[in-house]
């Protein structure tokens, strides 16, 4: 059997992080191929339900990324998202979901290098945790 590879869902905002991922691609920067990308209009669109559903569906980790504070295309979407994530993370930890499985970052359209670094770090963290078992729904 081949070695287990983490599967990570990356939820990226259309204006910054998705463009950052695109830049990493066109610049041919190497990063682990363990992520699947979902593009959303804004990090403010990310409902904690999306994150929990992804974990339930079997993703080993979730990365949510948006524009840096102050750079939101919709002015304040990422500020509202930040408040939401600020309480989501301790709550998940409290109920016993490994905190490293759900991560947040800010990546601008010009930060292709940073996108690669962030993805590498998330993949490494999740690889250390091993396959997700706790909130995964058995078929």
């Amino acid at each position: 059997m081949s070695e287990w590879q983490p599967r990570i869902l990356a939820i990226l905002c259309n204006w910054c992080s998705y463009a950052g991922a695109d830049l990493a691609g066109v610049s041919r920067i190497q990063y682990p191929p363990n992520i699947r990308v979902v593009r959303v209009p804004c990090s403010g669109r990310v409902d904690p339900l999306f994150i929990l559903k992804s974990l339930q569906a079997g993703f080993d980790g979730v990365l949510v990324s948006g524009c840096h504070p102050g750079d939101c295309h919709y002015i304040s979407g990422n500020y509202v998202a930040r408040r939401r994530f600020a309480i989501l993370k301790p709550l998940l930890e409290f109920v016993g979901i490994e905190p490293d499985r759900v991560q947040f970052s800010w990546i601008s359209a010009g930060e292709g290098e940073r996108f690669a670094t962030v993805v590498t770090k998330v993949v490494e963290d999740v690889r250390k945790l091993g396959p997700s078992k706790r909130i995964v729904k058995k078929a």
Binding site: P48, L49, L52, K53, Q56, P69, G70, S76, Y79, V80, R82, R83, R84, F85, A86, I87, L88, K89, P90, L91, L92, E93, F94, V95, G96, I97, E98, P99, Q103, F104, S105, W106, V118, K121, V122, R134, I135, V136, K137
Partner: protein, 321 residues
């Protein structure tokens, strides 16, 4: 004069001064140890109202669950500390007009959780309850037991920091301000001492009990979306079975929907037929919000609820560097 007598007097006065069209209070329930909500439309009915530790119902729920019934009416309402905070939140969220309500605060020392009593009596019928300072004596046809008050109080009351209304027009007595409560930290510490794996085991065990009856949601005055995410079927967010991952997600998301809005009245926990400690997650979130954003649900009547606001320079240590 006891609180019940004062409440009745106040209701009569409000009707005779023509200040309200309807008054919400509690009355004697059909079983011992129970109370039931009471809608008074005439001052002559005032003597049906009661207030004592049986009156757990958070009456603010009637404003959000079926708000049409009060349209254009001036409503008087009797509130404990937590109920008052619910109402303040509803006013803050423009679900209730402040000018249309007359808030009557009642001094509260905690309400009884019927489930705790049933557990202690083994389900035997209690016909008489006597309170004596810090102890409560329960009597039935063939038994009599004396318990400490803390053994029968709703767990929300054991963790209460706002026993009395913070916003009111009339208060039946002397309203106490915020009090400290070490039980809050204790309850969280108990879980936080566990390892991540142990915590998940605890969560799984607790939420495996859930039968998804949604009583917690239905009784919650802060839960008033016209269509709840669990009822949506396209997309269907939450599976229809009692699979533990579905129930955990339901409770986590419900917790986040009421984050910064939950006043910890404990109505959900008292309504839960499976005796799940629903309040623990709400307590965690409330403490987290207080620590991070310095806000407590149902205290401010102006502005917006805490999760709808932001400050640009907030701490963001949880964001990857």
């Amino acid at each position: 004069m006891n609180v019940t007598a004062k409440l009745r007097e106040t209701i009569r006065e409000l009707f005779s001064a023509d200040k309200v069209d309807v008054f919400l209070a509690w009355e004697e329930g059909s079983l011992p140890m129970s109370s039931t909500p009471l809608f008074i439309t005439d001052g002559a009915q005032a003597d049906r109202a009661i207030f004592d530790p049986r009156c757990g119902n958070n009456l603010s729920v009637y404003f959000t669950k079926d708000s049409r019934q009060f349209r254009g009416k001036r409503v008087g309402i009797a509130v404990k500390g937590c109920d008052a905070r619910s109402l303040v939140l509803n006013i803050q969220e423009n679900q209730v007009l402040r000018d249309m309500v007359v808030i009557v605060g009642v001094p509260c020392n905690g309400v009884i959780d019927g489930k705790k009593i049933r557990r202690r009596t083994g389900g035997k019928q209690v016909t008489e309850v006597m309170e004596n300072g810090d102890s409560v004596t329960l009597k039935g046809p063939e038994f009599s037991i004396t318990l400490d008050r803390s053994e029968v109080l709703s767990s929300s009351c054991l963790r209460c920091v706002h026993p009395d209304a913070t916003e009111y027009d009339v208060f039946l007595g002397e309203a106490r301000a915020e009090v400290g409560n070490e039980n809050r930290r204790k309850a969280l510490d108990e879980v936080e001492a566990l390892s991540s794996a142990q915590r998940w085991e605890r969560t799984r065990k607790e939420y495996e009990k859930c039968i998804r009856c949604y009583a917690c949601r239905n009784v919650c005055p802060s839960c008033y979306c016209s269509e709840c995410f669990v009822d949506q079927n396209d997309p269907q967010w939450i599976g229809g079975t009692c699979d533990v991952t579905d129930t955990v997600i339901f409770h986590l998301i419900r917790n986040l929907h009421v984050a910064g809005r939950c006043v910890e009245c404990g109505a959900c926990a008292r309504a839960c037929p499976m005796d799940i400690d629903l309040l623990l997650l709400n307590l965690k979130t409330a403490e987290e919000i207080k620590k991070r954003f310095g806000d407590t649900a149902g205290i401010r009547i102006d502005g917006r609820p805490v999760m709808a606001e932001f400050r640009e320079d907030e701490k963001q240590e949880f964001i990857m560097g």
